[in-house]
């Protein structure tokens, strides 16, 4: 690649970050559904849910809510990429001597920033609702790191969707199953309350290991071996998503 790949990525990331700053509603909209879910679960359903953890339900719930936030937030990345492709600006970039990968990386980095901003909004609301954590600085850094990895992994999937979509709706529809996954995990209720096959699925899908790890970090407890399962999933999806996204980009754009 060219010696300018970093400079190009920086310039293009600056461009899409400006998009976000000028439409801050995307950051807020991303946060609204998870906040509504949090209100619903904590104040309406929470009383009937026995987590067996002893702590408050909002403490139990927050990690899953953060994943829902990111899973819905990455849809904006597909959307923005789709619009860029349609508007011809990608053609312009392609006819210029810039590193090809920087066009995608700019969207991906912007996605991480935008989603972490939405996550911050949700955490602020959770704090107002009584969320408390004894997490050390190191544990917080680990939480942010895992959320960033999760965003990166899902963003590459979002890139694939944005590149292959035929319509604006198609570009963001891929995120619905992703938003659904936390519901069939340990995010809202303990998996042992689920019927057999469901519990098996919930225990073996990526969200559960990630949620359990985040929960342990927030609670200031040891994360145990679960963090390796979580990291394995995250890195696996990240690498696979990246490879497929780049291949899709080559195929679509050449």
């Amino acid at each position: 690649m060219t010696a300018y790949a970093l400079a190009d990525t920086r310039a293009l990331t600056g461009r899409s970050l400006r998009h976000i700053l000028r439409s801050p509603d995307t950051v807020v909209t991303t946060a609204i559904t998870p906040i509504a879910l949090m209100l619903l679960f904590v104040y309406v359903l929470g009383g009937a849910i026995d987590t067996g953890s002893g702590g408050s339900y909002v403490d139990y719930l927050l990690p899953g809510i953060l994943l829902v936030t990111i899973a819905s937030g990455v849809a904006y990345t597909s959307y923005r990429l789709f619009l860029d492709l349609k508007g011809g600006i990608v053609e312009r970039f392609r006819s210029m001597p810039i590193a090809r990968s920087s066009v995608l990386w700019a969207h991906v980095l912007t996605s991480v920033v935008a989603n972490l901003a939405s996550v911050a909004v949700v955490v602020a609301v959770a704090l107002a609702m009584g969320f408390r954590t004894g997490a050390s600085v190191g544990a917080w850094l680990a939480v942010v790191g895992i959320l960033a990895l999760f965003t990166l992994a899902l963003t590459w999937l979002a890139v694939i969707a944005g590149l292959s979509a035929k319509s604006v709706d198609g570009a963001s529809a891929f995120s619905y199953p992703l938003i659904f996954l936390p519901f069939v995990s340990s995010a809202f209720v303990p998996t042992d309350s689920m019927p057999g096959p469901m519990a098996w699925f919930a225990e073996h899908q990526p969200v559960t290991s990630i949620v359990d790890t985040l929960r342990a970090l927030f609670a200031g407890q040891p994360v145990g071996g679960g963090i390796w399962v979580a990291l394995g999933w995250l890195v696996g999806i990240l690498v696979l998503g990246h490879v497929l996204a780049v291949a899709t980009y080559r195929k679509r754009i050449g």
């Binding site: 310039a11 600056g14 400006r18 439409s23 508007g87 053609e91 312009r92 006819s95 001597p97 050449g254």
Partner: protein, 258 residues
């Protein structure tokens, strides 16, 4: 005009499925000249421009731009060209000035801000510079689009229907900008629907019809192709429009016309 060839295409073929759009296009554009590519809607002008600017791969044939092969040295071609596509490609969320600064940064130039201000002035966009491009009229957007293509002074510029949708004043501004470029030694290949534009601007005119370049020459040469007017008492030069129509036949406005 130097005799060096800035753009050379040989036997370019391109089909979309069963639709053969280009069936062996040969074209030479001398360095520092302006060549207008004429053709009816759907003749394949955009397709040819996209192949020459590395956005599309030809099925067959070779092309070099500024001495670089579009197939084997696309990065070098991209360093030598700039493209203004048929549809304005500006970032609507950014201001006009930010669009220019972005392109200047992507071309790794030292003073992006000064370059942007200069181009805004040249294209009468100084007042609109701090406004988002989304608020621009079609003509302003087009001017911004063309201004973005001039950044970095690439030796070869492709303009795909640069003045479609512009008012007469804006058209003249674009024409002046194109003439300035050619004076500075830039090679320009432009496509157009407007025959007067080709007459005004181009050193040579190439007519693309049924997938090949059916004629290529100066305006005077093309005009000589028509038999002299028979009626003697009216002295009339054939217009390029007449030459064009006699070469390609009546414009097939098939579906709509009947």
């Amino acid at each position: 005009m130097s005799t060096e060839t800035a753009i050379r295409a040989r036997g370019i073929r391109k089909s979309y499925g069963d639709l053969e759009v280009l069936r062996g296009v040969d074209l030479d554009v001398a360095s520092g000249s302006i060549v207008a590519l004429l053709g009816s809607n759907g003749a394949g002008k955009t397709t040819l421009v996209r192949i020459l600017s590395t956005l599309l791969t030809a099925d067959e044939g070779t092309a070099t731009v500024h001495g670089f092969d579009v197939g084997t040295a696309p990065a070098d071609v991209r360093r030598s060209i700039s493209l203004t596509g048929q549809f304005a490609a500006v970032d609507e969320m950014l201001t006009g000035r930010e669009n220019l600064v972005l392109v200047a940064r992507l071309r790794h130039l030292r003073t992006p801000g000064a370059i942007a201000d200069d181009l805004l002035a040249r294209f009468s966009l100084t007042d609109a510079g701090p406004r988002r491009a989304a608020t621009y009229s079609g003509g302003m957007r087009r001017r911004l689009d063309i201004a973005m293509s001039l950044i970095g002074d690439p030796p070869v510029i492709f303009l795909d229907e640069p003045t479609t949708g512009l008012d007469p004043q804006a058209r003249i501004e674009v024409w002046d900008a194109v003439k300035d470029l050619a004076r500075g030694g830039t090679t320009v290949l432009l496509t157009t629907q407007y025959l007067d534009e080709a007459e005004q601007l181009a050193d040579r005119i190439a007519i693309l019809h049924r997938g090949t370049i059916v004629q290529h020459g100066t305006l005077a040469e093309l005009k000589r192709l028509l038999p002299p007017t028979e009626v003697v008492h009216v002295e009339k030069q054939p217009t390029l429009e007449e030459v064009f129509l006699s070469l390609v036949g009546p414009v097939p406005h098939h579906e709509e016309s009947s």
